[in-house]
Amino acid sequence: MSALRELYQEVILDHGKTPRNFGRLEQPTGCSHGHNPLCGDTVTIYLKIKDGVVDDITFEGRGCAISMASASMMTEILKGKTVAEVQQMFERFHGLVTTGEQACEGGFDIADLDKLVVLAGVREFPMRVKCATLAWHTLKAALEGKQKEVTVE
């Protein structure tokens, strides 16, 4: 598969076109806004944590296929995860799209990891890695209760 086809796999195009969990969440416990000033991509993550578990998570925003797909897949995967697992996933995802390594203590089932692997193609496109990580950095800020806008550039 060419690097281009690996980047734009069907599942990414599908999530990019019809993102899941798209919309505002009423009374979130955490909410953060992320922005990539270079390309203008924006994302807002709404998070509801109940008893240390992600009870609900949604997002709003606009941007390229990679950033929208990454946000969509992230929300799908994180529902029901503990906060500790989310932190681990963040590290693992970051490694996946920057170095391609997934070496991390996994506290989640392997099927979830597989879903994220489709985004690994982005590491061949250094200018586009930030598109994939924008939602995750914004999520981290929402978890930490930061109101400050997150920027990646």
Binding site: L4, G40, D41
Partner: protein, 418 residues
């Protein structure tokens, strides 16, 4: 018949694009295994061999600091640097070399004018007129001045085709209008406001005018005396010259009256801790050691352009614009922003359902370099309600085949995105 000696040459512009391309070494390179199709000259143009060699030659045989040494090498460098200033002067039709200030680029030139002209001539309540088409470099310096002085910024809108609204401009001009700063050519859309008329009307209410020529000077010959603008600014790197060098043209009597922008060496007559006397322009505005080789490189770029027929270049670029507008305009779901004429060879567009960044990545894999995003002109994007566009900006070395390559690249985007 030998075309070089043919009288036909003078009547019908002849432009041998293949010969010109051979002067640009980078155009022979490949990207992702495909021949480079460089369509981002609006951001920064590629350099002809003459410019590259001129810079090498300075460092190899003619480099020393200028205006200082009594030794021969310093004199050689000083003469080459001042020679470049004279070339710029003739290139834009300024009255004297003293009206040419070397800066880092267009951005620094505008900051210099806002800061220095502003300090001397503007006060709270004075109105500065800009347009929606402006690059951030012709917006933010005026906002900084607003913070400092309390000036008022007025903005001329554009119509649906991206044309500067002359009726609105006329409505905005009044006795409080003290300065007008507009672009000669929109970097994001390519549309060209009627600057001669804009300058005439501004002078009618007693306002001074700065023309941002960063894009404009690349596509047509400029005569600042005929335009009668008070300031004209442009960058070397978009004019096939080196980066890090730009030009501020200012009318002599204005530059004379303006305070220094930065303090340092080379901009003084005498310094003591009690009192420092400033040098006259242009030295007053060139504190510190300038990018000497780059200024000389800009002179080489001007020589290069003077060696070509600029009307023939304009005709060639107009043909590229027409071909690109027609070919891209026929692609389903593709919308071109900035259709008003006159317009430079810049085509800004969106493709339904595909984000500009994704288009940029896919085109890159076809060897095609385009700019994607807001092009440092967010107010333009806001005007059209879009986050960004794909922008193909053509230079004198681009070909009709490259327009076709772009169109085929966009068909590939459609293939992938469905």
């Amino acid at each position: 018949m030998n075309s070089a000696s043919s009288p036909m040459r003078r009547n019908a512009p002849v432009f041998d694009v293949e010969a010109v391309r051979r002067e640009f070494p980078i155009l022979g390179t490949s990207v992702h295994g495909k021949p480079l199709v460089f369509l981002d000259s609006g951001a920064s143009a590629q350099k002809p061999r003459a410019v590259i060699e001129a810079i090498s030659r300075v460092y190899e045989t003619g480099y020393a600091n200028i205006h200082r040494g009594v030794y021969q090498l310093s004199q050689v460098a000083t003469e080459a640097y001042e020679g470049a200033r004279a070339k710029v002067q003739r290139f834009i039709g300024a009255a004297s070399p003293g009206e040419i200030v070397f800066t880092k680029g267009t951005t620094e030139a505008i900051n210099l004018v806002a800061s220095s002209y502003g300090a001397r001539f503007l006060k709270a309540g004075d109105e500065v007129v800009l347009s929606v088409l402006e690059h951030h470099a012709n917006i933010v310096p005026w906002q900084l001045l607003r913070e400092r002085l309390g000036i008022v910024i007025r903005v001329v809108p554009v119509d649906a085709g991206g044309a500067f609204r002359m009726d609105e401009y006329e409505r905005l001009l009044n006795a409080r209008t003290k300065f007008v700063a507009v672009t000669q050519t929109s970097n994001a859309l390519g549309t060209m406001p009627p600057v001669a008329e804009i300058i005439r009307m501004a002078h009618g209410v007693g306002a001074a005018v700065l023309i941002d020529g960063a894009q404009g000077i690349v596509h047509e010959a400029v005569d600042v005396k005929a335009l009668d603008c008070d300031f004209y600014v442009f960058s070397g790197h978009k004019l096939y010259g080196p980066g890090g060098i730009g030009v501020l043209y200012g009318k002599e009597r204005l530059l004379e009256a303006m305070p220094p922008y930065q303090g340092g060496g080379d901009m003084i007559l005498s310094v003591s801790f009690e009192k420092t006397e400033f040098a006259p322009p242009p030295a007053r505005f060139e504190a510190g050691t300038p990018p000497i080789a780059d200024a000389i490189g800009l002179g080489a770029a001007i020589d290069f352009l003077n060696g070509l027929d600029r009307l023939a270049i304009a005709a060639h670029e107009a043909a590229l614009l027409d071909a690109a507008s027609a070919r891209l305009g026929a692609i389903p779901g593709l919308k071109i922003y900035g259709t008003a004429r006159p317009k430079a060879a810049i085509v800004s567009f969106t493709l339904d359902g595909v984000h500009p960044h994704d288009i940029g990545t896919i085109l890159d894999h076809e060897g095609i370099a385009v700019r994607v995003g807001h092009h440092c002109a967010q107010p333009v994007m806001e005007r059209f309600g879009i986050p960004g566009t794909v922008r193909a900006s053509f230079g004198l070395y681009n070909t009709i085949d490259e327009v076709e390559a772009l169109a085929r690249g966009l068909e590939k985007v459609r293939e992938i995105f469905g």
